[in-house]
Symmetry: D3
Subunit: 238 residues, 6 copies
């Protein structure tokens, strides 16, 4: 029995609230249970220096956590003077995941920055960020389409969503909350597209190494979860 009382393959309640920002071209408040992430997609009509005159655009992501998003207050990275290793690792992952379904050539020389700010954390903030970030990105492209700047379907090739899995008391389970994550033996994050292609896999043993069989079981669970997340994204944007 999971501490969350959920079935081993049951995700937390998922919701997407669109247009939550007066200013951003696209925005989405995504909730995976008590994990709440505010995603905004901001369009700029210029690209990083190293891409200039390439004719291609860029999609990047930044990630942050409010100081009291967590159980104990975390020191503000702005006052620490730098982004920590975990933050940099997560925002690089979000960026790579979103770019995996974007045709940068079709986007043209523009940059979209997806900011994922965790208002409240309860495990799975990176997977919620990717999943909600896709919705914000989609809405940003719609905003552009409405202004004849692009065609959504040309730039955005597919959905992308992410979920975590883990081995909790010997049993593979889907979508760990913070409490489950803290006592899970293995923790894995999967990023997949709407068509089921794998974009990113990250699996880490906490304590005891895991076997290939265990890993396959986690991947099967993830596939199921991501398939449901993609359906929810479709409902959200239609």
């Amino acid at each position: 029995m999971r501490s969350s009382k959920r079935q081993f393959d049951e995700m937390r309640p998922i919701s997407f609230e669109r247009n939550v920002s007066k200013h951003a071209e696209g925005s989405c408040l995504v909730k995976f249970g008590d994990t709440h992430v505010l995603c905004t997609a901001s369009l700029e009509e210029k690209v990083p220096g190293w891409m200039r005159n390439s004719g291609r655009g860029w999609v990047t992501a930044e990630y942050g956590m409010l100081p009291r998003a967590t159980g104990d207050r975390t020191r503000r990275e702005a006052s620490t003077g730098k982004q920590g290793g975990r933050t940099l690792e997560i925002q690089r992952l979000i960026g790579r995941s979103l770019r995996a379904v974007v045709d940068l050539q079709a986007l043209g020389e523009m940059q979209i920055t997806v900011d994922c700010d965790v208002l409240q954390a309860d495990g799975g903030t990176r997977t919620a960020s990717i999943t909600g970030g896709w919705v914000a990105l989609y809405d940003c492209l719609r905003w552009m389409e409405a202004r004849q700047m692009t065609t959504v379907s040309k730039v955005l090739r597919d959905h992308v969503a992410a979920i975590s899995c883990g081995i909790y008391e010997g049993q593979p389970v889907l979508d760990l909350d913070y409490l489950e994550d803290s006592s899970a033996g293995t923790d894995a994050n999967f990023v997949m597209t709407g068509k089921g292609g794998i974009v990113e896999i990250q699996g880490t043993a906490e304590g005891v190494p895991f076997s290939e069989e265990e890993f396959s079981a986690l991947m099967a669970l993830a596939r199921k979860g991501i398939s449901r997340l993609v359906s929810l994204q479709q409902m959200a944007v239609s």
Copy 2:
């Protein structure tokens, strides 16, 4: 006529939503129109080094703005590597304002940090932060009272709230939004207590210097606005 269509002495719709954070001891999502600030109050049972063994507690504040809280995306301070002058100035103001109504001796050797994170900005973020920060602080003290750690009424001596005023097209007006603020000739922020005492005044001429009479008119407006904010705080916490 104001660009916001409001009367010269009319504030934007104000709301306080309490208990918006699963983790924080006190929290409040405050809205002054389209300006939305998430305030959390976090209790730590230790004080800064320079206060140790003084028997007194401390209340401090930090302020931040999500990158796309603004019309154009602002660079994230965590990636810039430092908090800007404006941020530091505002968070010092919030801290001073809240401490003005707290009996630090009665609090005892504990620290409460009030984080004010602007989710969406449309002018008046510092005044919303102070006004909403008071509610979060109140709830944190209530949380402590429920655990026999303190008595709210002994620690919190009064309400504190803040509002901006300005001279817009020659006319003193209350509670400027971003658009009005941008074209206002003079911009002043007032922080006052429930009993009407003044805690902080900041007035700045933008362009043309202002007269003592104009300043008095702004203060009269502010007094009216703050009196109303205090009533709203009372309703919110009762």
Copy 3:
């Protein structure tokens, strides 16, 4: 009775020593009693990036304090790795105050940086900086006029000066020194022009909130003090 033995409306001895720097276009060593600030105005024939090709110039200020300007040695900001909140707040104030009397259009695309470095501190360093900074700025413009680069009277519309006031043992007093400032109940800084227009007001309750009447008394004192500072500036530059 003030600890300084001064009358409630008596300022400390004020002096301006001009041309104290071999290199700077304008310079002034200003003394408000034991508070000594070295102000230099440096001309550069380029403006910040965001102003380029605007046809307008810029006046900005930087503020610093020598490590042993204070009673206890303060850590050097250059070795700390950043300017503190107080420093940033003060230098922003000095810059805004000086710009309030400058016609940036008439200046043309040039930048003047006024550096205010506190050699010795005894309260009122920001007000001395503004008041002495104006003299350095004036001399820089004279230097330019002598080279047919500008006309002082077109660029510099008025004097600007600043003074602090406070409520010391229940009594409003003018121009607080460090000792008085430390025990003052309320501390207010006023920046005004030669014509008596108000440029900036900052009032802060230390401990007990203050009333509108008290604030008016402080402003009346300030007006008197600034009027005298402006006379002294006039004598200094004529």
Copy 4:
């Protein structure tokens, strides 16, 4: 045909040179072909603050790259002022991987820092670092054993080694060099123990998403490669 002319399951020449440092308790210069990493293990008889009095020890890693380890000179992180996201990500991975086979309780309150400095880079620097880092760690524990400070076999539970795989021109291949990595469609790093347990998996699609079958093929290759690396480690330390 691989650009390196190697068979799809053929690793580059691997070598471990021990005792390359006069000062370090354990050290190893590991070569995976033209990728050369100097690994040192440094013992300190104290642990990080958060572990003090826990009775447990700590193993951590740091990673760096000499500026001209790469084809084009990279800017020195010491002069940039911070370690980049990639550096932080890699050194966190190395630390986690080594800790997976260490009994921190048995180590006792001491810290071993494994520094992995890339002298020359040609792809696979993180996998070489983990594999060579294990040898340095082993020698550090031997050094301690020789001084009756610990027993190697109690602290070090198993080998750990790492290898990269990728899909190169549609074909899964083992141990990519820089050139192959640059054009590989998918890039995956595997960290496994001597007994075959999985410690860490990181798979990233570059361009096109990959399938579960492709991923299984990569894992099979990795298993083979790591098995060989473990044999080489055994030979090196015996």
Copy 5:
């Protein structure tokens, strides 16, 4: 003929003004011609962590330059975020030079920090800093002696002073100003004690390497200059 019209062995007018700081235990405004350095010596009754409980004291120095001490305005190190290499090099030199004549054991567990801030620069700021820093240090020890904290003669074993020499248009000259320094072929700084012992030598070829004979000529000049500086120090403090 030197551009300064001085004889080859003629120093600039040198002066020491003591007690220029209201707060510092010792202070001296030293002038080597147009080079003006404000030196303060600050006493703290604690030593750096690594010296604690050693029974020995410490003398250290910090060096800074006001932004417009130079012909062109230099960026403020506090805003740059770090002290430059030149600054660090100079302040290390000043500290080493002063410690060379101090008996740290006799000082006891206290730290004296000598801050050397260049108000105006015209070449030779490091030599002026050492020479004037000695006077500030002496006065700080006198301050301590007056409070029975130490005996000057036990702690301060000798004078220390410094001067620069250079080869200017083929001729060795003493005490270069900025203009001479800029065109000098070789630049050397000498630090010597009152008894004539050498504490530090730094010689640098600018352009063409120099010979041992030339260097000896510079040292002879320096010896003469330092001997005179020591006499001036003696007069200043007696």
Copy 6:
């Protein structure tokens, strides 16, 4: 008798290993006994901003030390967030020394960066860096000559090499190792050209000031040592 058992004028075994880097245009692993420095020379076809369009090139150096190059592990400067004063001082010295024998005009608008990374330290890292750096620089110019980009003999006017000397138990000795350096009374570094011109002299008293005679003795030793180093460089590159 020296602790190293060497004669007073005997250097440690010196070796230069060329072409140790697959990527760098020039490279050299230099050993002065147990001091091992990896020097690489990197060519970039652009110069620093302030040299652009001057027609002249630039040679610069950077210096670093691996964390466990030393007896106790040193904190990594990349994680500290800045290069220490000692590092900056040394890399400035290396750069000046190399430029002393380079005709920057003949080089043309290109920059060569010589990175000196200490793999193992046992005293004399700066002198080894200069001496080995010259070899890397030479090979970089040869690489350019082979591509008709320059002529070595036109750009490189002479050899440059460096050695340390010190007074060890009252006796002047050549080429101090770490142990000797720690107990030496005076420490001096000399940089000279192949023709015997002096490029840089740095002498520091540790403890007791030194005399001119002692210094002359050190210089005589250094001259002998450098003459031998130049012969070894010649052998290495021929």
